[in-house]
């Protein structure tokens, strides 16, 4: 039996090895690298201790980035989870037919399977000051005064990127919640109907409590997603204008690959790791309680 167990481990080893070498090892190395000053083209390194962290903590751009990630998280939770939940409840309620409901659901889901770079470029056009769809619509309904260069205006840039993500992902979160609602036993509703409960009361007293754990999973993945942000910003604004749309991901990329400060970038990576890992632990907890 012992030799059998030795043989069985061969099934596990390839997967385990690749995960250890290409996931765990780089993340551990980050901690180490963040204590050194180094560049990508030479192996020379100078130990600097926690200097990078000190420098980050006094860099205003870091706080802009952190604030933008948080702003992203707040908007995404309100739109994707809040509004998405409302839509999921309506979609599964008695006012939307079954077939047409599936159709609505699939259409709303489509943007989430298009790649972020493609969606970001599309919205780059939509926000274009001259030929863009948004300014065109504003002009056609007589709101010319609201027209602006959405992505070049420091007051609107970050919100413009945020709204694109809501367009892309609200349908995705809605579908997650629809699936959770479909798992609720029908009997719960039947007995409520006998008691004369209307749709609103059923939603408040049955649907929402029954999908509570899925709502918290959705909230957490949305928040984690907001701290993993990179491609949207990289493509639409590159962090500009005047660094007003920097997020942690682009801030890290900029330090490591544009300014060639690999150690400094690694320190930012450690901060991203701590935030996303911490949030993922919370997700794991709420997933287990499902």
């Amino acid at each position: 039996m012992k030799s059998k167990a030795n043989f069985n481990i061969l099934f596990v080893i390839p997967a385990l090895l690749i995960v250890l070498v290409f996931m765990y090892f780089p993340i551990l190395m980050n901690f180490f690298n963040s204590l050194y000053r180094m560049t990508s083209y030479s192996n020379a390194r100078t130990f600097v201790g926690f200097q990078h962290y000190a420098k980050i903590s006094s860099d205003p751009i870091f706080y802009t980035a952190l604030k933008n990630n948080a702003l992203y998280a707040i908007f995404s939770v309100v739109f994707q989870v809040g509004f998405g939940m409302l839509l999921a409840i309506l979609l599964e309620g008695k006012f939307v037919g079954r077939k047409i409901g599936t159709f609505f659901r699939n259409v709303l889901f489509i943007p989430s399977i298009i790649s972020i770079p493609a969606v970001a470029l599309l919205w780059y056009f939509i926000y274009h000051p001259r030929i863009g769809l948004l300014n065109g619509i504003l002009a056609s309904i007589g709101l010319d005064s609201l027209k602006t260069a959405w992505l070049a205006n420091p007051n609107t840039a970050i919100y413009s990127v945020i709204m694109m993500s809501q367009w892309q992902y609200t349908g995705y979160i809605m579908v997650l919640l629809v699936v959770a609602i479909q798992k609720i036993p029908r009997e719960l509703y039947e007995s409520a109907e006998i008691d004369g409960a209307n749709e609103f009361r059923k939603a408040i007293h049955i649907t929402i409590p029954s999908i509570r754990s899925m709502i918290s999973v959705c909230t957490i993945i949305t928040v984690i997603g907001s701290f993993k942000l990179f491609s949207e910003i990289y493509i639409m604004t590159g962090g500009g204008p005047y660094n007003t749309t920097q997020v942690l991901g682009t801030y890290m990329y900029r330090s490591a690959f544009l300014f060639d400060e690999m150690g400094y970038g690694s320190a930012v990576a450690v901060i991203i790791f701590v935030i996303t890992f911490g949030l993922s632990l919370v997700q794991l907890k709420s997933f287990k309680s499902t």
């Binding site: 980050n30 709303l108 889901f109 972020i116 990289y234």
Partner: protein, 277 residues
């Protein structure tokens, strides 16, 4: 059955909301397709009108100016990564769920723990590692990290499925002289098609759309995939707007079509995973 007026009223406004949201999704997409068929000058004079003449040549231009190669690279990288992920994750999940293994729990936690690690936080060190291993700027610089970052998810999906698998079939096969590998390949995997296809589809969406690794780990223009190709297009061809819109359509088309045909499998995989990006 007679309906109360309030029922009809509710039905109208609720369905009305969904119709409006549908327009909000579909209109920008149609606007994009419409403009991808125009000449640049026509786009600048009016982006709302229907194209006077359908210029499919924009698509040919985009294809010629790089999309043929981006497309080939994306398919190659996606197929290899997904196949390897599914096989490695299936082997691993099966062994962890059904076989006697030393340190089983430790291994299980290590692999599932990978679900908590974000690609962004590994980016810089992974770049240095790939460079040290001399695979930076090759197809493997994308394929290997993609496999690594999808295995935990694949194991997570399949482990639960294999765990609930009835053991009668396995026992019967073993009596017939089938070895463990034979049981896995000939009995377990064929029966597990739904979970395997869900894993494959979710991995395919991830790989097809992945941007940050592909951006950082590849320099060679001949190796870049569609997402990075699109972003390069933006800088290189800032004047050829319609060609770029055609490029976006080409980039999005395969996944959207696949989704329309297999929406159930897509949704099963994506909801079982409950992860974004």
């Amino acid at each position: 059955m007679r309906r109360k007026p309030s029922y009809v009223f509710n039905k109208i406004w609720i369905n009305g909301i969904f119709v409006m949201l549908m327009i909000l999704i579909i209109y920008p997409l149609t606007w994009m397709i419409m403009n991808s068929l125009k000449a640049n000058t026509e786009l600048f004079s009016s982006s709302f009108s229907f194209p006077k003449k359908l210029l499919f040549s924009n698509y040919a231009d985009a294809w010629r100016l790089g999309f043929a190669s981006f497309f080939f690279n994306s398919i190659l990288v996606t197929v290899v990564s997904v196949a390897a992920t599914v096989v490695l994750a299936a082997f691993c999940a099966y062994a962890l769920a059904r076989l006697k293994i030393r340190f089983r729990n430790a291994i299980l936690y290590l692999i599932m723990g990978g679900l908590l690690l974000s690609p962004q936080s590994a980016l810089i060190s992974l770049y240095r590692l790939l460079d040290a291993l001399n695979i930076y700027n090759t197809y493997f610089a994308m394929i290997i990290p993609y496999i690594a970052f999808r295995i935990p998810f694949g194991v997570f999906l399949m482990y639960g499925y294999f765990k609930d698998f009835p053991s009668d079939l396995e026992d019967a096969a073993r009596i017939d002289g089938c070895n463990t590998l034979g049981i896995l390949l000939r009995i377990v995997m064929p029966i597990s098609k739904p979970i395997i296809s869900a894993t494959a589809i979710v991995s395919a969406i991830f790989t097809w759309n992945e941007f940050i690794f592909a951006l950082v780990f590849i320099e060679n223009e001949n190796l870049i995939t569609i997402p990075v190709g699109l972003s390069r297009f933006k800088d290189a061809l800032l004047t050829n707007w319609t060609g770029m819109l055609a490029g976006i359509v080409i980039a999005s088309f395969p996944m959207v079509i696949a989704f329309l045909f297999m929406s159930k499998t897509f949704i099963r995989g994506l909801t079982a995973g409950s992860v974004k990006g």
